[in-house]
């Protein structure tokens, strides 16, 4: 599975699946892809989202009230795949995966034709079985690198990663911020010493300006809470509102084919 980023920065859009419901998530995902998102992170809601701020916490609670499960998210991925060639990454905490079984999860992910997964609270040190099962099936294993990660850990993270590496822009949890912290370019620079994989920067990106700025030092930008909040604020018009937002972001990214 090659995850190729065309634009710079490429847009990776995160969605909490099942908020407000799975059918709407399907519509939103397809609309976002049409509007320029190259990868969709399909977020599996979890009861204890320790890495998430209030926006995604609320979305998870709403999705869980509908009993949205990992199994359903994999099924949703299958439906998206029928209509779109965009990159699809299952974004989940570890416990639902453990409950399903790592082998079963990998097999189901392969079956759903997703491109890979990112397990938020699985450190590389504990990822042996997961890596084996995913690599066997040619699925990408995306890991998080943090500004506080030591060089040694960045090396380990790079070695275990495939598809792309997710550089967390700041110490903290998910949530939109008004300014890009200085931690991000430095982290990406350090990461590039250990990997040739594309690097995506995430946490806190919510404006076209922030999005464009990320393109100066990283290959992709992950936009999560900003999109989840748009969904929260536009009941009944989720897909169109997200599409509009994604268009605004896409408009500022460079396209290699465009002559300058």
């Amino acid at each position: 599975m090659p995850l190729r980023f065309q634009n710079r920065p490429a847009l990776v859009a995160y969605l909490t699946c099942g908020d407000p419901d799975l059918r709407t998530t399907l519509d939103i995902a397809l609309a976002a892809c049409d509007a320029g998102a190259e990868v969709i992170e399909l977020g599996v809601p979890f009861s204890d989202p320790v890495a998430d701020g209030p926006v995604i916490q609320r979305a998870s609670e709403r999705a869980l009230r509908q009993r949205t499960s990992l199994r359903q998210v994999l099924e949703l991925a299958k439906q998206i795949r029928k209509k779109s060639p965009a990159g699809l990454i299952i974004f989940t905490y570890l416990n639902p995966v453990l409950r399903m079984g790592i082998k079963n999860f990998s097999a189901a992910a392969r079956d759903a034709c997703v491109d890979g997964a990112l397990i938020t609270d699985l450190p590389v040190e504990e990822s042996g079985e997961y890596l084996a099962e995913m690599q066997k099936r040619n699925l990408a294993t995306v890991f998080l690198a943090a500004p506080t990660s030591t060089d040694d850990r960045l090396k380990q993270i790079a070695r275990a990663s495939s598809g792309f590496v997710y550089a967390v822009s700041r110490t903290g949890v998910t949530g939109a911020r008004h300014q890009m912290p200085e931690d991000a370019p430095k982290l990406v620079g350090r990461l590039r010493r250990y990997t040739d994989l594309p690097v995506a920067v995430g946490f806190g990106i919510s404006t076209a300006e922030q999005f464009r700025a990320v393109g100066e030092f990283a290959d992709a930008a992950v936009v999560g809470s900003a999109i989840v909040e748009i969904i929260e604020r536009n009941p009944g018009k989720e897909a169109e509102s997200v599409a509009q937002f994604v268009e605004q972001l896409s408009a500022v990214s460079r396209q290699p084919s465009v002559k300058r």
Partner: protein
């Protein structure tokens, strides 16, 4: 991870540093009130008509529970690490109070996260923390109890990790916490072993302790693990009944899972979502259990039973009236177990119950639930 590695490095160094140990021992002795007595409960023994019941009086420690053993240890580490801000989670509030206490003692900024449901049922402790200078932040998400407070504390920690130490209150979380917290509580068992040998000239047949996260129990168990003839009995919260959501008995309905950085037995549903739990005692109301307990159970070294809300409330009254000791509702679960067990044991046998805390904080709940004339 970097913060965990840093903590582990400092802890390993401190363990080998005699001045650290001396300072900790001195504070445990002159400030916290160690050693705690091992008390022979003569009237309770007579009432039950079986084994001799001894009570390890962690309820007599400063702040009213065993929690301060760990708080003092970690606070001295905070000093070594040069950090000035401490955060903690708390269920019943005892760990929060102990944390606020050591922060006042050593001059650190202190923020305690507590579920709003727990704040309601343990009001006394909320006030105590504020009086001690800590900021108490209510957590309104999820079940509004201990696990939600931990989530919020973890969010604060990852955001402020460079300046802040997370003073975790039990043998949970990522390494090195389960080991380190256990080590700081080992003093309970070390004392108890010396004390019982002095009092009875032999080891106990059984040791009973309540198990929430598992710190007081592992603290008393640990010294006796090598004594194969000593039964180690942990008592979990049986709550209102056996249905998922009505109790917090991880070994009765939980299965292996990962919550908040630990792999252990977790109460969860078929989709891997963590379950809500219930116990009349806030400190036992948690869906996972310290991994060392999982190991003790799986290897058969320890057994785990449970006591219902009703049993615990009843046990409170029994201990109050036979020995003049009002235990914390958490500890009352252990008392409930000895009430059940001792009558069937030989009169020559000895059983130690860890009274992990006193019940002042529970007066409100006791008043709601007990009909006293």
């Amino acid at each position: 991870m970097a913060a965990l590695d840093e903590l582990e490095r400092h802890y390993e160094k401190a363990k080998r540093d005699r001045t650290f140990q001396k300072r900790l021992d001195e504070l445990l002795r002159t400030y916290a009130g160690r050693p705690t007595p091992l008390f022979f409960a003569r009237r309770l023994t007579k009432t039950l008509g079986g084994a001799k019941v001894y009570l390890k009086r962690e309820d007599l420690l400063h702040t009213g529970a065993h929690k301060i053993n760990n708080c003092l240890g970690q606070a001295l580490l905070v000093e070594r690490m040069g950090k000035h801000r401490v955060i903690a989670e708390t269920g019943a509030g005892q760990h929060g109070v102990a944390t606020a206490t050591v922060c006042a003692l050593l001059g650190f900024e202190c923020v305690v996260y507590m579920g709003t449901e727990d704040m309601r049922r343990q009001e006394l402790n909320v006030f105590r923390m504020r009086l001690l200078g800590a900021e108490v932040r209510g957590v309104d998400s999820g079940s509004r109890t201990l696990k939600d407070a931990i989530n919020e504390a973890m969010r604060d920690w990852v955001t402020n990790v460079r300046t802040t130490h997370y003073l975790l209150g039990s043998v949970l979380g990522a390494h090195p916490y389960p080991t380190m917290v256990r080590d700081f509580h080992k003093v309970i068992g070390r004392e108890a072993r010396k004390q019982i040998l002095k009092a009875e000239g032999k080891l106990p047949k059984a040791i009973i302790a309540c198990v929430g996260g598992g710190s007081n129990s592992i603290g008393i168990f640990h010294e006796f693990i090598k004594d194969r003839n000593v039964q180690l009995i942990g008592v979990e919260a049986g709550g209102r009944g056996p249905r998922l959501g009505d109790h917090a008995a991880r070994f009765h309905g939980g299965s292996p899972g990962v919550l908040q950085g630990t792999y252990s037995y977790v109460l969860q549903d078929e989709a891997g979502q963590i379950s809500a739990t219930h116990s009349v005692s806030a400190g036992l109301d948690y869906p996972s259990i310290g991994p060392e307990h999982a190991w003790l159970k799986d290897t058969g070294r320890a057994q785990y039973s449970s006591a219902s809300d009703e049993d615990a409330l009843e046990a409170c009254t029994v201990l109050a009236r036979t020995e003049g000791i009002i235990p914390a509702l958490e500890s009352a679960h252990a008392v409930a177990e000895v009430i059940r067990r001792a009558p069937w044991m030989k009169k020559s046998e000895v059983v130690i119950v860890n009274v992990s805390g006193r019940g002042d904080k529970d007066i409100g709940i006791l008043r709601e639930n007990l009909k006293l004339g």
